[in-house]
């Protein structure tokens, strides 16, 4: 177990640069998971919004609208806001929409919101239809028939949530599972891509390399112990990350769903391990390793929908992300309510793992040959004192 011991010693030696990175990424992973709340009830409730109403006093139009919004469960605050102030409040995400009423009753109120978002569309159409209905119940003397108006506004379409048979867990908890596990996936990819190639690089340094190939140590044993070392690092980090993710998800998942998520995570960790072996065989330049790990892990997470829901990522970009296992990992977590929905995505990841292992082996053979030729031709004999 000499190689394994050396591997662990090199890990400890690199601890100065690895440990702070690990701690920071852990925090990042927890924060990504905490960013999404969840509701596990199976009864439909319309999304509630935080809105601000700015109106001069005694504006019956604004009062009626505010009363109706509150009756619908929206969080309404009354403040005197200019357009600029309202934009600032929306920018700070303290509110999602602002309704600005003018002093003149005949002027239409202004709805400030991001019209390209679903919430923006909802906020604007909600106001538009309220005032249209209110106008319909205007009596001959100009007053509003409020009882009829609110009776009509109370009418709602019946909504049911589809709960397929064999589903274990609640759809409301999925957001929490997906975001936590996506954060963990990003971090495990970043850690394994940076740590493993760095340790492997240390084994190829002059001196260590020559001693390794001249030592009476079986090549297969050396390779096995190297893989064992990298496995311990990646699976150890993965286990810690999974523990951190449990802080966020344990309230939202059943034991069965947790098991399925764990299996999916295991498949992804195998892929991360295989990718880092490819990188380790591609380059031995420390700066290049840092660059590849940062760009690849962050880039892949962005295009696969690890930080934002996959629906928000462009279709064309999602097509590219299908060439990498992270897409399937995230999609499997989204389908983690039923085992049969997850299986195809888990199998896809295992297929990726097999392909990556194959590539790593081929690269390893080429890299080994190149190194052997180079070293024997130039430095080996003098290095070992022959």
């Amino acid at each position: 177990m000499t190689v394994l011991k050396t591997y662990m010693k090199l890990l400890v030696k690199n601890g100065v640069s690895v440990l702070p990175l690990f701690v920071i990424f852990m925090v990042l992973s927890v924060l990504i998971g905490q960013g999404f709340g969840s509701d596990t009830t199976q009864v439909f409730q319309a999304t509630k919004m935080d809105v601000a109403i700015s109106s001069p006093s005694n504006n019956s139009q604004a009062d009626d609208f505010a009363a109706w919004l509150e009756s619908q469960g929206h969080n309404v605050t009354y403040r005197s806001l200019t357009k600029a102030e309202a934009r600032e409040e929306i920018f700070l995400e303290r509110i999602q929409a602002a309704y600005l009423f003018s002093d003149t009753a005949t002027d239409a109120p202004v709805v400030l919101t991001d019209q390209k978002s679903g919430a923006g569309y909802y906020a604007a159409t909600m106001a538009e239809s309220f005032f249209r209905f209110r106008d319909a119940y205007r009596l001959d003397d100009g007053s509003i028939d409020r009882s009829s108006l609110f009776e009509t506004l109370a009418l709602e379409m019946e909504v049911k949530i589809d709960v397929p048979e064999g589903v274990d867990g609640s759809a409301g908890g999925i957001n929490s599972v997906v975001s936590s596990m996506s954060g963990a996936a990003y971090v495990i990819l970043a850690i394994s891509l940076s740590v493993l190639p760095l340790i492997n690089e240390a084994f190829t340094r002059p001196g260590v390399f020559e001693r390794s190939i001249t030592a009476p140590y079986k090549v297969s044993k050396r390779v096995f112990e190297m893989y064992l070392g990298s496995g311990i690092v990646v699976f150890g980090a993965a286990a810690i990350l999974f523990g951190f993710s449990l802080i966020t998800i344990h309230r939202h998942v059943t034991a069965g769903q947790l098991g399925r998520v764990a299996v999916n995570y295991l498949a992804f960790v195998l892929c991360a391990l295989a990718i880092s072996n490819i990188v380790a065989n591609l380059t031995r330049n420390r700066a290049a390793i840092s660059a590849i790990s940062t760009v690849f892990s962050l880039g892949l997470s962005f295009i696969s929908g690890a930080f934002v829901p996959q629906e928000l990522v462009s279709e064309s970009v999602l097509k590219i992300s299908k060439a990498f296992p992270m897409f399937y990992f995230i999609r499997a977590n989204r389908n983690s309510l039923a085992w049969e929905d997850m299986v195809p995505d888990i199998l896809s990841q295992i297929a990726f793992f097999a392909v990556y292992v194959l590539i790593a082996i081929v690269l390893q053979r080429f890299a080994g040959r190149a190194r052997k030729t180079m070293k024997t031709a130039t430095s080996l004999s003098s290095d070992i004192g022959v």
Partner: protein, 351 residues
């Protein structure tokens, strides 16, 4: 002065020759900005229509078909529609029995519910003999650019504006004898430390500011995302951020003996964490920080830069601009002075 310019030229030459710093300060930002712009640019151009199935025989089927600006109607029903819903191809089914079947409780489901409810209300209004005026516009729609692209890109730019950190680290590792062999050799030469460090700061601030300006121009010309609506103030902000970035690099590098291989990844990771808190990894995380750790984002330099950048160029507001620029300049100055104290001439027993 001649010596200063010679050191300045030397610093710029070394920066341009260093492939690593060229990658981190220029190529990596361009790659990341491109990835983000590609991933989220679809969101800025148009709102996605909501895919929904309308079963034949639904009482409002014909009206729903007219709402093609918001709904992407699929004329399917029964098991086929149910399967599409479970496959996430559609967000809901308007069933023939007037029930809306959905998968969850998101915004799309809320909009489908709102549309269905409104149609029900409209038929009720007409049934009671009242009239609805669909020709009149009852509200004026004021748009606000609040898309994810703007939030993520401004915090990413904020992060890159502070990448002077790496130049700061390099300067100290060139001049502090106990940190690198090059510095040990330089310390035996009659080189002026003040001139070398100040030339390094000027070259670092200049190259970092120019890089950030290049990113802003790249976003404007290639991706049509304009962060130069208020060019004067934006450039001053970028300059302040570069000064702060390089100062923090000087301070962190000079205040301890950690190897450079620890300081560089630490800088990358901390900046990634701070920019994530500022919204680079999507609004939910930023909201979580704002609600639970508001002090973190108040004093998060990346958040200060990115918010001000957004306010200046998207909202046309100068709120907190002067305050933030002053904080960055003053903090940069304090850190520079503190770093110079750490870098003062010392004698080493051994190197």
């Amino acid at each position: 002065m001649k010596r200063f310019f010679s050191h300045l030229a030397l610093n710029i030459k070394m920066t341009l020759k260093d492939k690593g710093s060229l990658f981190w300060s220029f190529i990596y930002p361009i790659l990341l900005l491109t990835l983000m712009a590609v991933a989220f640019s679809g969101l800025q151009t148009e709102r996605k229509r909501i895919a929904v199935a309308v079963e034949p025989g639904h009482p409002f089927a014909s009206v729903l078909h007219q709402l093609d600006d918001i709904l992407d109607i699929k004329d399917i029903g029964g098991d086929e529609a149910l399967e599409s819903l479970r496959e996430k191809d559609i967000d809901g089914i308007y069933r023939a029995d007037s029930v809306l079947l959905v998968r969850g409780k998101g915004m799309n489901e809320t909009i489908l519910h709102e549309i269905g409810s409104e149609l029900k209300k409209v038929s009720s209004v007409y049934a009671t003999g009242h009239f609805l005026d669909f020709t009149e516009q009852y509200v004026e729609r004021g748009d606000q650019e609040q898309g994810m692209l703007y939030v993520t890109l401004s915090s990413t730019l904020g992060m890159f504006a502070l990448y002077g950190y790496f130049a700061g680290i390099n300067i100290v590792h060139h001049i502090q004898a106990n940190l690198s062999p090059l510095a040990a050799r330089l310390s035996t030469t009659p080189i002026s430390r003040v001139s070398y460090v100040s030339a390094g700061i000027v070259s670092g601030v200049t190259t970092n500011s120019l890089n950030t300006i290049a990113f802003v121009l790249y976003l404007k010309w290639v991706w049509k995302v304009d962060y130069l609506a208020d060019p004067g103030r934006t450039l001053l902000l970028i300059l302040a951020a570069s000064v702060f970035g390089i100062s923090i690099g000087l301070f962190i590098s000079a205040s301890n003996r950690w190897p450079i291989k620890a300081k560089v990844p630490l800088g990358i990771a901390v900046m990634l964490l701070l920019s994530a808190a500022s919204g680079m990894m999507g609004p939910p995380m930023r909201l979580f920080i704002e609600n639970n750790l508001p002090w973190l984002n108040r004093y998060n330099p990346i958040n200060m830069v990115s918010r001000t950048l957004y306010r200046l160029n998207v909202l046309g507001s100068t709120t907190e601009f002067t305050e933030n620029v002053l904080i960055l300049f003053v903090a940069g100055l304090v850190l520079c002075v503190a770093s110079l104290l750490f870098m003062r001439k010392r004698q080493f027993k051994s190197l």
